[in-house]
């Protein structure tokens, strides 16, 4: 079972603020989903290699040569706040 404290801990890891009304339903729903998926614990998977990529690709690396990229003003065009040549954000320390 996932309790309220665990929900708040995971939310902090995920950089996600939760409203008071979201905490209890998430605890209940995450518990139910994790109970369900925990059944993969019953399988004998001794010696089975994990799959990280399902279709083999070889030679995926490109030549390490400079190439074009987005112009700075285009990259900044959708930013909520801009300062000079960069993205503007609140201070890391209040």
């Amino acid at each position: 079972m996932i309790d309220r404290d665990e929900v708040l801990h995971v939310a902090r890891l995920a950089r996600l603020r939760l409203g008071e009304d979201e905490i209890e339903p998430l605890a209940r729903e995450l518990s139910a989903i994790l109970d369900h998926v925990a059944h993969i614990g019953e399988l004998d998977l001794e010696g089975v290699a994990p799959t990280t990529h399902v279709v083999e690709v070889t030679g995926a690396l490109r030549a390490d040569e400079p190439c074009g990229s987005l112009p700075r003003e285009v990259a900044l065009a959708q930013a909520p706040a801009v300062s000079g040549d960069g993205f503007s954000v609140p201070s890391p320390q209040a």
Partner: protein, 490 residues
């Protein structure tokens, strides 16, 4: 041709008429643009304002300027690309996704962007920040998801064809629920560059179309290796338009695990589904009889022993990847930013609180949990091993049969709001489609009949790179089944 005659043409037929000089691409575009602009199903989040030279596809190119609806999560330069999320409201990307770029180069015209579940997380399109899409067969029901806008638009004749994405069934399941064709190709065959990511090891783009020929034609111009996506690859063969009429010698495997009445009773899990609906199974079995009449051998002894665990593995792996992919939505570079935060951390946390919907938060939380210290091996590591077993099951099955066949979804289209209160019930929609996603193999859903007046989809899956054979077999079946989807196009 009058408007109704134009709408009754498949995309391939329309392209041929344009090439033969019997139809102008502008006339075709205007007919669909007018229908898309009058959309009452909430299929579109953006419709092209007008026909424009240089933006519309070249009528002399292979796709003849035929209009194309594109799922919202494909980045389209200068056109809103919001992935169904409030956090990207109004976002206009600075570049266009490779798949869209290639289709435009082949002559497709961008008709509109289609509604979807937020970040492609959902099976009913009810998780869109821009409202649910209605099913054209019955407007009190869902179109399926996550490519629900694309599926409903094609079924309703608001677009000749559409682009979707499939992570665990998001092309195939809405195609089934809307009575159209949906194809998820082999993982890697279509570039993911410019697709707003959900779960990168599973996400694949593919066509949603009125028939199998259209699916082949659209896929043919989407595929290929892209230097911008290191997981993309060159298919060994060019995609051909299908021509099969018989299924002689074709072995169709019917795995008990995905076609029995106990489907959804996930290996001892407490939450058991109702299994596959009787009406869906009936339509599926009738389609198998048709296949046998065309000469196919129906092999009931084929087994996918780990398939009942696929959904569990999927709901570990996909949320884990999503929690990582969605870390980029932090209010810094684009999209929503919560105002008035005292410091950076508060800005991140409040932006994500305000910008994400309930299902996306649930999956970020689930993914963060299974990747956190102490749980990684028990959940993520095990799920990756289950994935290996599932791929091995398919490899073994394909020694015995040419294709695996199943119903695409356990039920026909269900009512709006019917499954929103229980996430696990919603997840069971993907029961028959998730195993193929985990194995990275191609799978297609074709309409195979009606149950209580609503469409039923049949899924055919083949080994990696078997698209041409899969399309050929589906085409032969499609001809024999003669499904009539015109009722949804009124």
């Amino acid at each position: 041709m009058n408007g109704n005659e134009i709408i009754e043409l498949s995309a391939t037929q329309a392209a041929r008429k344009i090439a033969a000089g019997e139809l102008s691409s502008g006339e075709l575009f205007d007919a669909y643009r007018a229908r898309a602009a009058a959309d009452e199903l909430n299929c579109f989040t953006w419709v092209a304002p007008e026909r424009r030279a240089g933006v519309n596809g070249d009528a002399s190119a292979p796709l003849g300027g035929v209009p194309l609806a594109v799922k919202d999560l494909f980045c389209t330069e200068g056109v809103p690309s919001q992935s169904g999320s409030r956090i990207l409201e109004g976002y206009e990307p600075p570049y266009t996704a490779t798949a869209v770029r290639k289709l435009r180069a082949a002559g497709a015209s961008l008709l509109g962007k289609t509604n979807q579940d937020e970040f492609a997380m959902g099976s009913s399109n009810e998780n869109s920040a821009y409202g649910p899409v209605l099913n054209p067969w019955d407007r009190t029901r869902v179109p399926g998801g996550s490519s629900g806008g694309s599926a409903a638009a094609v079924a309703a004749g608001l677009a000749p064809w559409a682009l979707g994405t499939d992570t665990g069934g998001s092309i195939r399941q809405p195609a089934a629920l809307c009575g159209i064709v949906g194809l998820k190709p082999t993982y890697g065959s279509v570039s993911r560059y410019g697709m707003i990511a959900f779960a990168s090891s599973l996400d694949q783009a593919g066509p949603l179309t009125r028939d199998v020929t259209d699916a082949a034609l659209l896929l043919r111009h989407m595929v290929g290796r892209d230097p911008c996506d290191a997981t993309s690859l060159e298919l060994p063969h060019e995609i051909e338009l299908p021509s099969g009429v018989r299924l002689d010698g074709v072995r169709l495997g019917v795995p008990a695990e995905l076609t029995g009445g106990s489907v959804g009773a996930d290996a001892g899990a407490e939450v058991a589904g109702e299994g596959i609906e009787a009406g869906v199974l009936d339509a599926f079995r009738l389609a198998l009889d048709q296949a046998a009449e065309l000469g196919a051998e129906i092999v009931e002894s084929v087994s996918l022993p780990h398939a009942p665990h696929a959904l569990s593995a999927y709901y570990v792996l996909a949320p884990a990847e999503a929690s990582s992919n969605l870390a980029r939505f932090d209010g810094v570079r684009y999209g929503l930013r919560a105002e008035g935060a005292e410091d950076l951390l508060e800005m991140y946390e409040r932006t994500r609180h305000d910008g994400f919907g309930a299902e996306v938060k649930r999956r970020i939380m689930l993914g963060t949990y299974v990747l956190s210290a102490g749980y990684y091996d028990a959940y993520y590591g095990r799920a990756q091993r289950v994935r290996t077993k599932i791929a091995e099951d398919f490899a073994r099955a394909f020694e015995q049969v040419d294709f695996i066949v199943t119903p695409t979804a356990p039920t026909v289209a269900f009512g709006l709001g019917e499954k929103t209160s229980d996430p696990l019930q919603m997840y069971l929609n993907d029961y028959c489609t998730v195993p193929m996603s985990l194995a990275g193999i191609p799978a297609i859903s074709i309409p195979c009949g009606l149950s209580a007046g609503l469409p039923v989809g049949m899924q055919l899956a083949g080994p990696a790179f078997s698209e041409n054979r899969l399309l050929d077999a589906s085409y032969a079946l499609e001809r024999a089944l003669a499904f009539d989807g015109s009722a949804a196009r009124v």
